[in-house]
Symmetry: C2
Subunit: 146 residues, 2 copies
């Protein structure tokens, strides 16, 4: 990993970093940073004469925001909305809360669905003796009712 090279291009001295450093500082892969730019989550950043992207601290901050939001399971569209609110000083906190609340409910729904699967499978696994004999209630269930 190359350490900070202040002579990188004339602009690096102004606190701007290249995509690799922005990636390391934010936890977002360079691949994803480019992708976020492409889909409009990130602004189009300036480039060096050699066409390298240059990121200001503010951009790195945005990347961290996205990274954290992804870790909480927000979708791209939700993150887009959250970023808009974050950057709007006159936002109503109710709008943020509404997005988060809806996301919680979405997560809970998915959890309930998966928990249902776990319950069903747990029962079947419990009933399956699991030895070298071929009869198996799991297969019976899969083949049978539907």
């Amino acid at each position: 990993m190359r350490a900070q090279a202040p002579e990188r291009a004339e602009a690096l001295q102004k606190g701007l970093v290249d995509i690799g450093q922005a990636s390391a500082a934010s936890g977002v892969s360079a691949k994803m940073i480019r992708h976020y730019e492409e889909i409009g989550l990130l602004p189009v950043v300036p480039r060096t004469a050699a066409n390298y992207r240059l990121y200001a601290p503010q951009h790195v901050q945005t990347l961290r925001f996205i990274h954290r939001a992804r870790a909480l399971g927000f979708s791209m569209d939700e993150i887009r909305a959250l970023l808009g609110l974050w950057q709007n000083r006159r936002r109503p906190s109710a709008a943020v809360r509404k997005i988060a609340q809806a996301h919680i409910e979405d997560l809970q729904q998915r959890i309930a669905q998966m928990q249902g699967m776990v319950d069903t499978l747990g029962h079947l696994v419990h009933c399956c003796h699991g030895d070298e004999r071929p009869d198996c209630p799991i297969l019976v269930d899969l083949a049978g009712e539907d």
Copy 2:
């Protein structure tokens, strides 16, 4: 929905059905039936002279198996393995159980991850007053630590 048309083609009298009927009888969309054939989950079935796929009851049974397994969250690869065991009369039930057990653990891991998100978000939502004021602990969290 077309009712059973036994005179469909000369072969339909042998209990063979077209893809629409196989779909209705199994709960798997025609689109997905073709896809499963393409990826090798289903055998390549015979066709009529007009190139229509013909499904025997055995194939419909397999489709129901897949449908049920999908409903329990098994991946295509897991279903492929389960189908192989199902069709093998000398299978050890332990092999089936192992797949199901691994799938349960996978589900539980994902549930735990999502539950962690719910917990974090629940706390943040609880702390957000959710009115017209702009200050919001949810955004502070997203922007801040990472």
